[in-house]
Symmetry: C2
Subunit: 596 residues, 2 copies
Amino acid sequence: MPTFQAPVDHVRFLLRDVLHIERYSNLAGFADATPDLIDAVLSEAGKLCEEVLQPLNQVGDREGCVRHADGSVTTPTGFKGAMKAYAEGGWLGVSVDPAYGGQGLPYVLNTAVGEFASAANLAFAMYPGLTQGALAALLTHGSEQQKATYAPKMAAGEWLGTMNLTEPHCGTDLGLLKTRAVPQADGSYAITGQKIFISAGEHDLGDNIIHLVLARIDGAPAGVKGISLFIVPKFLVKEDGSPGARNNLSCGSLEHKMGIHGNATCVMNYDGATGFLLGEANRGLNAMFVMMNEARLGVAAQGLAVSEVAYQNAANYARDRLQGRALTGAKQPEKPADPLIVHPDVRRNLLTIRAFNEAARAFMLWSALNSDIAHRSEDAAARRNADDLLGLMTPILKGVLTDIGFENAVRAQQMLGGHGYIEEWGMEQFVRDARIAMIYEGANGIQALDLVGRKLPRDGGRAVQVFFGEVSGFLKAAEAEAGMAPFTGPLRVALGDLQKATMWLMQNGLANPDNAGAGSYDYMHLFGLVALGYMWNLMAQATLRLQAAGAADAALATRLVVGQFFMERILPETALRLARLSTGASTVMALPAQAF
Amino acid sequence: MPTFQAPVDHVRFLLRDVLHIERYSNLAGFADATPDLIDAVLSEAGKLCEEVLQPLNQVGDREGCVRHADGSVTTPTGFKGAMKAYAEGGWLGVSVDPAYGGQGLPYVLNTAVGEFASAANLAFAMYPGLTQGALAALLTHGSEQQKATYAPKMAAGEWLGTMNLTEPHCGTDLGLLKTRAVPQADGSYAITGQKIFISAGEHDLGDNIIHLVLARIDGAPAGVKGISLFIVPKFLVKEDGSPGARNNLSCGSLEHKMGIHGNATCVMNYDGATGFLLGEANRGLNAMFVMMNEARLGVAAQGLAVSEVAYQNAANYARDRLQGRALTGAKQPEKPADPLIVHPDVRRNLLTIRAFNEAARAFMLWSALNSDIAHRSEDAAARRNADDLLGLMTPILKGVLTDIGFENAVRAQQMLGGHGYIEEWGMEQFVRDARIAMIYEGANGIQALDLVGRKLPRDGGRAVQVFFGEVSGFLKAAEAEAGMAPFTGPLRVALGDLQKATMWLMQNGLANPDNAGAGSYDYMHLFGLVALGYMWNLMAQATLRLQAAGAADAALATRLVVGQFFMERILPETALRLARLSTGASTVMALPAQAF
């Protein structure tokens, strides 16, 4: 059976030594996040994830969710108790405004906790995760009355949330959506239509489910400019704030999926259900994007999370399994064979995963800290800077962390040979579960298009210049530091590749948008590599400084080797990405559709 | 529901225009393989695969195999009838010696048929595929009496075969195996032990199952030099050649696996079962390698096969699904949206898969033709040359075609968005099924080690020099041909990378075997890229010559574009592989085991 140990020490290192969280004590909620409190939050979260969520991961996969004849849905054994523990621990409200029952702590802390939960049990973690996303949209766009009605219950985990976008004929292209909203005399709307692929659409984990539903008000313009967002609760809320009459919506069926069996993926039927407009009419996509951006960071964390837990189990196996002898002669001659870990190719695989995991975690927390700054800073320039970086990095985080996270789950599975392919060891579940993260919340190809088509050109390329400026400034200072050359050298090369690619896109993408489209995916990964390489530089610098100050624990020495591996073996991929992208669109677009 | 169309036209092009099969009419059986007969074989095989095997693919996945209380195993609905059709069509015996009931046709033809079958229904195709592998070992190492007893029944598909290597504590490291063989007075052996992961170990598809089992004769040396191979039939064969008494062996349980649910993966218990020595005592690995090498080519074909069927379904979806608009303006303004195929990134994905599939098919058939030459030529030098190339290419085919085949199944799945993740469309099954091919018949890391540790240095590097000579000779001649520059140019660069990598390995791998181990995987893929690039050159040359001779069909023009894509976007990866490999083993080996 697979095991999981929350990477508490690494998160602590990142928050304290790399991101220097203490420097942000002027941000709301950060002063409360003392080192002791951070330690307590991380250890308690880790314990819950290791002891309560992780043991239910295989159970959830095997049992799945069950829809009954009345449309109700039962989650797997143990999920109800786990949800109760998660809610009562206050884990949904870690960074929610205390005015609505949250703890108001930094979002960066909430992000770390989210990774632990997804690593322990991805299908389970989606229930609170989606609730947090819905809550974010509600707190940003809801009226005072709406916030008061729903937010405290959601922050407490008593009511859960969903997002309803996809319809049978449209996922990416929401302009095609058909669900109707008919204005009612009391100011509410009657919502009618069918939504598919609705995660956590129906279940037994809370007293109410607050659906956020995209629909078109009768008479609204066609396309994306006629879409509005509605609050559609499973149970309408009574005057006293408790759940009342059942709304006219139901789960029509559950999808049979490759993975995340513990999460109920529903076809949702709205039959004149009562809905309440959230935010402005016809500005629903705008409101939904608050939720989607938060969700994209959450999905990025899922990619990393599965990569982490898969790594841990592959490394354990490689240390334990005796098979074959080291190429340089027996390392444990007293045993019938050496452990797998003696083999260079096994180590190469493990290091490939780990070098990604540590940098990806840094990248995720660095981005989450930018979200905190963007939302909580009183300095307008700092807010803008952070918001630029967050907007730019969101598609990269989502696309790259889920692509590589999946690849790493596959890689870790491979370390177990045939044992990786059978259910017993749990590795194949990691692969099946990780696969969804590349698809939902905007398939990764859409993330790449969002990057090159929107985020990159926005405000004359301001965001990317902020990033280039930050990395160049870092390099200039760090190149002189002792021990940094093996890190700064490769990063400078990779940054050069990214700058060339950016220039190429700006020149050729304007002339022909297909050039941007044909290069978008390589550009996203090229950007991701540079971001991860930058994170390794930050981590190496922090490590070297700790060592220079006398710290001598083995984890520091290990980290430098893992970082070195990234610089030598992974970062050089930037050259290939640049070469591909620079070939342009002509070959890609040459064939007629029927030739495929 | 997914569909499949056997790539008959492409195989015909490869056999006729690229491999010039008519030039080999001096080889046994090749004179019979007239163009008309080849056409008939390919079309008939295609029809059977499309109409009988493919419709059972999802059924097989959903139902799986069932083990009953008495140890018997039932295969999914329809498999029995399909096996009957496959056997009666003579498809197991396509290239088997007519003396044993086969048709004696070229192995290259059998290989093409095998790809069709695996694409249509991978789990099903394993039953006849394993039988063919066992039959090959039997025909190479069996006594006349053994061959007469088993071969005709196996070639006819009445009796099926298996290979029994793995035990709970050993897969790769067969030297550790514990299954015992005790000599009996009648010359037979009593076999006792447990084998795991035995594909097709028990089922209802034939009248008998001929297990080939590795075991250690009492008193034999420890390690791999004390292993022998035994024929252990499920039913002992009576004097009259019909199945008689039940042997003392049974299926203890079925594994629950990620995919290939239609194939029964068994724990096999041998309790003093009667076995007959196949080949020499203590030379069992040697005999088993005949089967494994054949099986490795078959597994390589599986990687390609799933990539092909996944491509076809993704391309169909991309042509049909309306979603979003072309970046350059609406292409079908009369419709609510354009089809996905207008998007450059969708095309990039499809072309990435297809550019691999066509070259991989050429590589596979080119190798199979070398197998024919190695086994059937009367010219000793030609046999040696072909055998060198086949030995060298076997690990590359297995490792590269299954790695990329799996990646492509994932890529094709991605094109369907959320619909790719649910069972209905069949794409997620392709991913789950394709995954096993990277693991069984020697995990791909083992293939890479076989390449750098055995195949490369063997006979002073003779095989690799044969390949370099062939490609260099081709380039020298082809560089002058009209239209070939976009193909020969990139191939020359890639060949240079491979030659540098080979030199690096020879120099540094001898000094420290860990350098070879740490670079083995990148070397395998680098070699695979060059082989595929060479295949694209051969295909481009054949295509240009056909065009120059007046042929004008659209498939030819399409092929040049697909090949161009490979040259521009895929082949340049050789530089990255070389760069990685050249970093050596020092970082990889730096950490102690407990640091992972």
